[in-house]
């Protein structure tokens, strides 16, 4: 069974760090958000109290911002500056292209049986959306989080009442991010039929060639045409590694679904 390389170790490491820190921020943030409920109390007790949850939330937030900075540096290093404007418009780039809109339309038609499966290249439009949504989310959540990090200090530069607005923006953006990841990202990534029960591509870094030929035919055709297919082919990862990935992945998905279900079931307390 041939496999094709999809993510580099650095990209997988970025995803792993982002995933762990995002789930940590979700748990500590939800503990603060659901402060009036039994569940909020339980989550806060995991960190040793509401105050401790806030302190850790702030530290991990700074860590995420630092990670975002490192990711920006990584992009700057990885860009092919010799062929600069052209190199970032190619099909390997995550920048949105005109084809994405037409592919999204064709994909929607496919869902109701009106069209064939679109010929996706390396990145689908939903994956590009996810990538840019994370960047937007980190900018909004990180920016508002920095203002709320030391409110006494930040109010020297902005009026204090702006913190009211900033706190609400932080809260709504966090709800949006969590709901998007827990419902949409997890479902498309792992729970739909073709990926069920789990897609290990983000952990292993490689994906089955036949599956890719079916899902992303343009990418495989392009690699074959350029003669890079052999170069991109890799071996299977060891079984023990895959088992470890499965266990880790199931724990993470279970944890995210637990947060989603409890967040929704306690939502009434939030407004009451």
């Amino acid at each position: 069974m041939k496999r094709i390389k999809r993510f580099t170790p650095a990209q997988r490491l970025f995803h792993l760090i982002l995933m762990l820190s995002f789930v940590f921020q979700s748990v500590s943030g939800l503990a603060r958000m659901y402060v009036g409920t039994e569940w909020g109390l339980f989550l806060a007790n995991l960190f040793g109290g509401f105050q401790e949850a806030l302190i850790l939330h702030k530290w991990v937030g700074l860590f995420m911002l630092a990670g975002f900075g490192v990711h920006l540096l990584y992009i700057l290093i990885k860009i092919d500056w010799r062929r600069f404007p052209k190199s970032v418009y190619g099909p390997d780039s995550l920048l949105p292209r005109l084809e994405d809109a037409s592919q999204a339309l064709q994909h929607a038609k496919w869902m109701v049986g009106m069209s064939e499966w679109p010929r996706f290249d390396r990145w689908g439009y939903w994956e590009k959306f996810d990538y840019w949504a994370v960047s937007w989310g980190i900018c909004v959540l990180g920016g508002t989080g920095l203002l709320l990090y030391l409110p006494v200090y930040s109010s020297l530069y902005i009026p204090g009442w702006v913190l009211n607005i900033v706190l609400w923006v932080h809260r709504i953006e966090a709800i949006l991010a969590m709901a998007h990841v827990f419902i949409i990202h997890l479902f498309i990534g792992h729970l739909r039929r073709h990926n069920f029960p789990m897609d290990l591509v983000m952990f292993e870094g490689s994906v089955d060639l036949e599956k890719v030929r079916h899902e992303r035919p343009d990418w495989v055709d392009r690699l074959e045409k350029e003669g890079k297919l052999q170069e991109a082919t890799v071996d299977n990862s060891p079984v023990s590694f895959r088992i470890a990935c499965y266990i880790f992945g199931f724990v993470m998905i279970g944890g995210c679904l637990y947060l989603l279900v409890n967040g929704l079931s306690n939502a009434r307390e939030l407004f009451g």
Binding site: R32, V35, G36, F50, H107, A108, W110, M111, V112, G113, M114, W126, P151, V152, Y153, S155, L156, I158, P159, G160, W161, L163, N164, I165, W168, V169, I172, E173, I175, L176, A179, H180, I183, I184, F187, I188, L191, R192, R193, H194
Partner: protein, 252 residues
């Protein structure tokens, strides 16, 4: 006066004798209501006016300096407030329009001693200081008498709030910091558009972004999952059905 009665008598003669009887009955009923019923249920309250006078002297720490106007008003003054319940006010307290300028902003409220803050200010109870940090009203607003926020000597006066109140916990707070709205309005409420417009528009913009994202991606995800789950034959049949029907329509 004679002319008045003569006019009524003439009218009654002209129109109907029953009118006169009804008028006299109504006047007698009104007199009965004013003279008999009202003092009867307010008697206990009237006797407590001296108690209130003593209370006022104790609060102001000025004893027997002023003579107070004798109690000549209606004993029960009920004023409807925007809150959930009626608050009974003393007759002179009724004249107060702007309580935020008073040294004792709750002056004249009946049964004030026996109420909790939240009973009359339920909306103010929903704030992060109380919910998250379990701070009580008194920790910021102080002991009795609680001065109105705009009273010169109040610790809540905007010009010294950041020193006397905020800095108790937030070390180094500034006048700008003190403008943070503890009792913020509900951001999506229509009334907030006037009270705190920037909060209103920012929160609605964020809500619009969130709703837009889910409006696009929830059906997208659901349909995708359904399409992969259903066998192709069902959708092929659906497609045939659609196109056959369209062809038939064209023929017709």
């Amino acid at each position: 006066m004679k002319k008045f009665w003569a006019m009524i008598y003439r009218d009654a003669q002209k129109t109907n004798r029953r009118f006169l009887i009804c008028l006299i009955g109504a006047i007698l009923f009104a007199i009965h209501g004013i003279v008999y019923t009202a003092p009867a249920f307010a008697q206990k309250e009237v006797t407590s006016s001296s108690y209130r006078q003593q209370e006022r002297e104790r609060r102001s720490r000025i004893y027997e300096k002023y003579e107070y106007k004798r109690y000549t008003h209606q004993p029960f003054v009920q004023r409807k407030t925007p809150r959930t319940e009626l608050i009974t006010l003393a007759p002179t307290a009724e004249k107060v329009r702007f309580r935020k300028y008073m040294a004792d902003s709750h002056w004249g409220l009946r049964f004030y001693k026996y109420r909790t803050c939240i009973r009359c200010h339920p909306k103010q109870a929903r704030n992060l200081h109380r919910v998250r940090a379990k701070i009580t009203c008194r920790q910021c607003h102080g002991e009795e008498p609680i001065a109105g926020n705009s009273h010169y000597n109040s610790s809540m006066q905007p010009r010294r709030r950041y020193i006397l109140v905020c800095a108790k916990c937030h070390e180094g707070s500034s006048p700008s910091f003190a403008t943070y709205m503890i009792h913020e309005p509900i951001p999506i409420a229509k009334t907030t558009q006037k009270a705190f417009p920037l909060l209103f528009y920012c929160v609605w913009a964020m809500v619009a972004i969130a709703v837009g994202t889910f409006a696009a991606f929830l059906p997208h995800t659901f349909l995708w999952g359904l399409r992969e789950f259903l066998p192709d034959s069902i959708l092929a049949g659906f497609k045939d059905f659609l196109f056959k029907k369209r062809k038939q329509d064209e023929k017709d």
